[in-house]
Symmetry: C2
Subunit: 582 residues, 2 copies
Amino acid sequence: MYRTHTCGELRLTDLNNNVTLAGWVQRIRKFGGMIFIDLRDRYGITQLVFNQQTNATLCEQANGLGREFVIQVSGTIAERSNKNPNIPTGEIEIIVSELKILNPSEIPPFTIEDETDGGDDIRMKYRYLDLRRTPVRANLELRHQIAFATRAYLNNLNFLEVETPVLVGSTPEGARDFVVPSRMNPGEFYALPQSPQTLKQLLMVSGFDRYFQIVKCFRDEDLRADRQPEFTQIDCEMSFIEQEDILNTFEGLTKYLFKTVKNISLPDFPRMSYAEAMNRFGSDKPDIRFGMEFVEIKDLTTGKDFGVFDNAEYVAAICAENCASYTRKQLDELTNFVKRPQIGASGLIYVRYEVDGSIKSSVDKFYTPEELKTWLDRANAKPGDLLFVLCGKREKTQKQLCELRLEMGSRLGFRKKDDYQCLWVVDFPLLEFDEELNRYFAKHHPFTSPKPEDISKMDSDPGAVRANAYDLVINGVEIGGGSIRIFDSELQKKMFKLLGFSNEQAQAQFGFLMNAFQYGAPPHGGIAFGLDRLVSIFAGLDSIRDCIAFPKNNSGRDVMLDAPSQLSQEQLDELYLKIKNS
Amino acid sequence: MYRTHTCGELRLTDLNNNVTLAGWVQRIRKFGGMIFIDLRDRYGITQLVFNQQTNATLCEQANGLGREFVIQVSGTIAERSNKNPNIPTGEIEIIVSELKILNPSEIPPFTIEDETDGGDDIRMKYRYLDLRRTPVRANLELRHQIAFATRAYLNNLNFLEVETPVLVGSTPEGARDFVVPSRMNPGEFYALPQSPQTLKQLLMVSGFDRYFQIVKCFRDEDLRADRQPEFTQIDCEMSFIEQEDILNTFEGLTKYLFKTVKNISLPDFPRMSYAEAMNRFGSDKPDIRFGMEFVEIKDLTTGKDFGVFDNAEYVAAICAENCASYTRKQLDELTNFVKRPQIGASGLIYVRYEVDGSIKSSVDKFYTPEELKTWLDRANAKPGDLLFVLCGKREKTQKQLCELRLEMGSRLGFRKKDDYQCLWVVDFPLLEFDEELNRYFAKHHPFTSPKPEDISKMDSDPGAVRANAYDLVINGVEIGGGSIRIFDSELQKKMFKLLGFSNEQAQAQFGFLMNAFQYGAPPHGGIAFGLDRLVSIFAGLDSIRDCIAFPKNNSGRDVMLDAPSQLSQEQLDELYLKIKNS
């Protein structure tokens, strides 16, 4: 037996007991003929004491230990004279009588502490050491808790977890697939699923009624901080339900998770239509932890010989409270912020509403204080506030103003990580028009049902058709999304036609689903939560990478495993493949 | 709202209530101006009644329904005059007042009944209809229950479920990998994991202490009935433990699953060494639901001028109780059985111990009844029993006799599906010698630890070294296996050397693990259960295929999705791949 207890469980009530512990040497301190060692395992830290006077040989042995050595010790529990109130075991220490080195350690390439001196690259190469750090491990413990609680909640509601295959067929619609050559079927490839969408719909056709799966999905996209080639979804589907049932069930799940994992009781989630979210916040995933809503002022700005506004489709403002005292430097920073190529505004106009009631603006050449006051009034600005104005094409400007709003929210401390504001965004448009390709794309996916009252518009005004589609947004992050599905094969055909599929193409790609719909498909719908993002929100992380045990870098590489890598000629031959020079 | 209740929940206590149900038309019976419909959903079947006299229009509408139509009905609950005691809803029926067809259905290509008329191929092509059949769906419900209970048990013991990556590096050791070309790293490939073995060991190095994962694994092997290219493992690893801890923890899991899922209380599992299992049953996964153990009789048979036995390395018998009356035809059948190329015996010798005490044998030319009696005595045969004898090279003959024993066990009804006999097989050999390649292979895998007391034999007699490796066997099926791992980098190097790896090869393939061992690896070990096989044992199935929602056929094809398939030239170009002609 390697241990009687873990390093996190001994207390004053265990005084004088003999115990055996095993773990890693976290810290060594020498002090007046004594050696103190912090012994660490997943469960905590316990202080070990070696006394030169009472046991010189043992003390000598302890002297040879280094950081991250794996040791086993036996000894007696004593009360600490110098208690540490910050850790649960801080009132006791072990007077060690036996010490065994289970495994020595080289000096680690970075310190295994909460705050480490290791940069990103080296921590990824030695991820197994990085994972020893308490905050990183805590993220994965949180991930386990969230997944476990999700299963408990859904199982309780009669959802069945069904595993769908990882080796499926390639579907050109959507993002790029990862593919897997088949040795047994030369020249043919499986694809890794971007989501189990069609398979979960087939399970509904099969009468499974309530399905879920916590499942790896794959997309061969160019990567960013919050994207990984493989990611995990909480994927769900229900039959004989309407949108309201899905929203209630998964609002329930979200509340359950916050209560179980973080002991936070959330109020009912507000709902907002896509159109409203765009108008008020310029985003389909608004961060509603703070206001600073968009105020359209085009009508107030027109006809005063200011061409920039006169020629703009859209002029809108946000009001930053108590920011009238912003310096020139601060205003320049924000101007540069909105002019960055990622945002792309051509400039930033401000109106200062000074505390004394006077009004100053970067456009006071064109507008009188009285005119500017009408803008301030519409934005409910008070003396001391600062108005920012952007203008241009509607959608583009909304996005720019949204970025500025979020930046101001951060600067003003309105985006607290432990303030959780959930929101349902509903009534998404069914289709999105791609100007470049001159065709419609499905906003959600081709299986999403139009709202019944909008079906008549599918021919006359496809862009105005709203879908029974919804997103769950927490603190401005899209955590989940789903829709009520089409279950009528005629409507599905019509949808494919709108998306520019010929009958043959639709049949070739989704024939199995369209055929299945011929044999009694029930009304159904579903939702998928991004587990990685959900965990990162719970953990207060900015990137999903630190809630994944072994993430890949921005080139899709696992630098620890050194994957991907070249295959042997023999492996390539067996797969009937040749590499072309890149 | 599509329904107030499911089709499985209404009882006599709900009498006279108005309800709305939705589901599939299972069966339609017309009888004296009445139409009776069995309405089916996942939860059960409820009888609907339409009465020509009270509502002719509705009855007319019901007349138009067909099998597998999806309908919604409202009506009142009435007591059935003709009760069906076989289903929980059999005491009531719904007097329908409203009927809505939610979706019609074509006539299905096979009947959706417990016993269907559909062959394997058509059921796989229309798997979504096959999954509507109660026994198939029940297998997947069972799978959900087993996975859910497994997680509950392990979570309770502080195991953390950690997701390991699906896109990893290729390791030539072991079975063939499925590979995934990387678009971002031209000419390089990921591999899909055959198991998370090395990653879970890294998690132990990271101090995760107790890890599990229910995880898809992949092997590009030629397929058989009980193999699939993708399969699911309950994968576990623990730190600071010995073999005994693993056996107890996972015997506990197995008992918990049988109790929770099937309400069966299992006694403690017997343990048997690999050597004993081979000697007594000729198998490392013996079916101990019945005896019929091997009896070696080489010493009793030698020197009687029967060259076949004299020249054989091994002569052994099994005793089939009460089979002395077997006919010539039965004996011929069994002789043909052992002579099949898959088994490969050259013949079968029998000794009949007649009820009257006389002895007859196919070798009574060579042996007197007294001599034959010594064989019978050693096998504890009683009058009325039948002895089968096989001979030849030891290992080959043991395998043949094992097959014969299992066949006899089946014929005699000793292998009941609901009789669950669990067994730990322990002390596996560390290495296996491959005559053809003239080298040792790891019996389990290269990370398995030799028994400490056998380490000294690694140089002198590698074949005799036993490993701290163990298998869980239920009813002759290997359900799980694992080992205590090497955690000392010197011992790991020695092991790789025994397996014929150069230092460079070992470093290239497993460098990340050997490096990790330099930084304080704890003693650790683990086990993996095959979930597919575990479910099939619980379900009493012969193949794993029917406990998988969307299995592949023997050519690795998903005939429903028609995967794998060819890629477009554009996709191939993006991946820098060319197909060679096969």
